[in-house]
Symmetry: C2
């Protein structure tokens, strides 16, 4: 069984402390900022960055600083996503747009984004800045493409879904691993392998997120069938639509995007997602990307964090939240 | 009479061309991006940057690149502001949130922000990156503080208004001038003077904007009394409230923030803003900041763009839109 080293856990805690320090002097910004960072989140991207940057050549402080930048960028996208998705809850709490307003979410998101840029400029490594600025741009690009797919519904292809998963999620995983490796001044080859590992892990992470959305109950802090209620076609629904009878397909498309669902509707939606065929295709896809991640990890056997990276991949694969 | 040189105007046009090149491959992003940049705007900040960066030591290409970054940052804030203010119009056209949705505005704003960061990373000058990341953060900070002032209403002080004007507007003017001077590798002293000039000019610019809001008619592409309808206390209203009788003051506070105003109400609001006392205080404040700008310009007599900077200050002072 692989677990995280105590030193890594301590570094992950320092990311949280580091972020909390970045307060503004104004009360309203303090309130918003503290509210957002009062829940810790999983910090998967920050952890990936900490592991990829491990090297005897680089100080822990710099690695924690880069991981904090990654976590800030990720949090800013979440805060803006809540406006886009009109989400009411985030990480088991009411979302910022619920406690305050959409305006507050937009602006505190911008505040956190630019805070991340301030911190990354301090690191003063041009290739890292370039990678993170491009990743941020790609995330926004992915979200906009996803918006326009709402209208496409039945014509969405698996390639569309994989592209969006990459841009929305895989891209920041890729950048977290790549910039980590860049910081450790690894060889070009190793930076490339870390990038590919991050990309595959991020895609697997998104597939798992989509699966969990159909399994989530209120006590996990998430609304059950949130994606479905928002009208999003994700991997589980995509396969279910492929496999369903015309009658069931029409039922799914009719209910898709309805915020309020009857208990019997929820039951039927669950049944249609839980068919053997759909579940087989889902786990096949999930395994494909986890195996790809492991394939790249296999090329990093000498890496000081090999075992911890294996832990991260395993835990991402089997996680329940 | 001072005017812009043809070479400067050509450079300003190249900013527009430069920005238009930064398209993504996806149709929806192209549509949004082209819509936003189809109107040219005044490009005051980009012009300030072009003038401050003029030097025989630096190539025009780099100056146009930096001015494009400034214009992209400014545009991103406008797109997000439209969500915050629930604006229906921008630069004489329907705003993005009207033609598409709030979600599109949030995400295309993020897209443009990160595009600006990608381009500024290419310039590869650490002090410029630091200044622009900090300016972006301060703008968001200013907007959040402004939101929380809604509740303060009668207790707002002139210092509150000056602080917000600086953060919202003066800060990017300051950064435009400062980073321009940094690019031209000017002396520390000259960079500082340019920063102070930009800050004063930006504050004067915001005061003028606030004044114009009470003078604007539909044919300028702006909603008359837009700030007032949004519940914002700006400089004209601040002085009017100071000078009004208790009855008129109560009238103003009662109508403040109401999107729909009767013709007779609009007439009375205009009258209360147009009193001699309020107008005198407004032009006094405006002159104070324009004079401060001229004072700093006076320390730049040797600068190759002295006359053009004088033109920019004059035109900002007397502009009608």
């Amino acid at each position: 069984m692989y677990i995280l080293k105590k030193t890594t856990e301590a570094e992950l805690n320092r990311v949280q402390v580091n972020i909390a320090k970045e307060l503004a002097s104004e009360k309203i910004i303090q309130e918003l900022y503290e509210y957002i960072f009062s829940t810790r989140g999983k910090k998967t991207r920050a952890l990936l960055c900490l592991l990829a940057s491990k090297s005897s050549k680089i100080k822990s402080n710099k690695r924690v600083a880069l991981a904090s930048v990654i976590e800030l960028l990720h949090t800013a996208t979440l805060v803006h996503d809540d406006v886009v998705d009109e989400s009411k809850r985030r990480r088991g709490m009411q979302s910022v747009n619920q406690v305050w307003t959409n305006s507050h979410s937009v602006l505190i998101g911008d505040f956190i984004y630019s805070k991340a840029f301030i911190l990354m400029v301090k690191l003063n490594i041009s290739s890292i800045l370039d990678e993170l600025a491009n990743a941020t741009n790609d995330i926004a690009r992915g979200e906009i493409i996803q918006l326009s797919l709402f209208e496409k519904k039945q014509c969405i292809t698996l390639d569309d879904l994989l592209k969006i998963s990459y841009l929305k999620t895989g891209r920041l995983f890729e950048a977290s691993a790549k910039t980590g490796a860049m910081l450790a001044s690894n060889s070009k080859k190793e930076i490339k392998i870390f990038g590919l590992l991050g990309k595959a892990l991020g895609t697997a992470f998104q597939i798992k997120d989509d699966i969990l959305d159909y399994e989530s109950r209120l006590d996990t802090g998430k609304t059950p069938l949130k994606d479905f209620r928002e009208g999003k076609i994700t991997f589980p629904l995509y396969f279910a639509l492929q496999n369903a009878s015309t009658k069931d397909k029409n039922f799914l498309l009719k209910k898709l995007g309805q915020p309020r669902l009857l208990k019997k509707d929820i039951k039927l939606i669950h049944q249609l997602i839980q068919t053997n065929e759909t579940q087989k295709e889902l786990s096949g896809l999930m395994n494909k990307y986890t195996n790809e991640t492991l394939k790249y990890l296999n090329q990093l056997k000498h890496h000081p964090c090999y075992n911890e990276l294996l832990y991260l991949i395993n835990i991402s694969h089997i996680r329940k939240i």
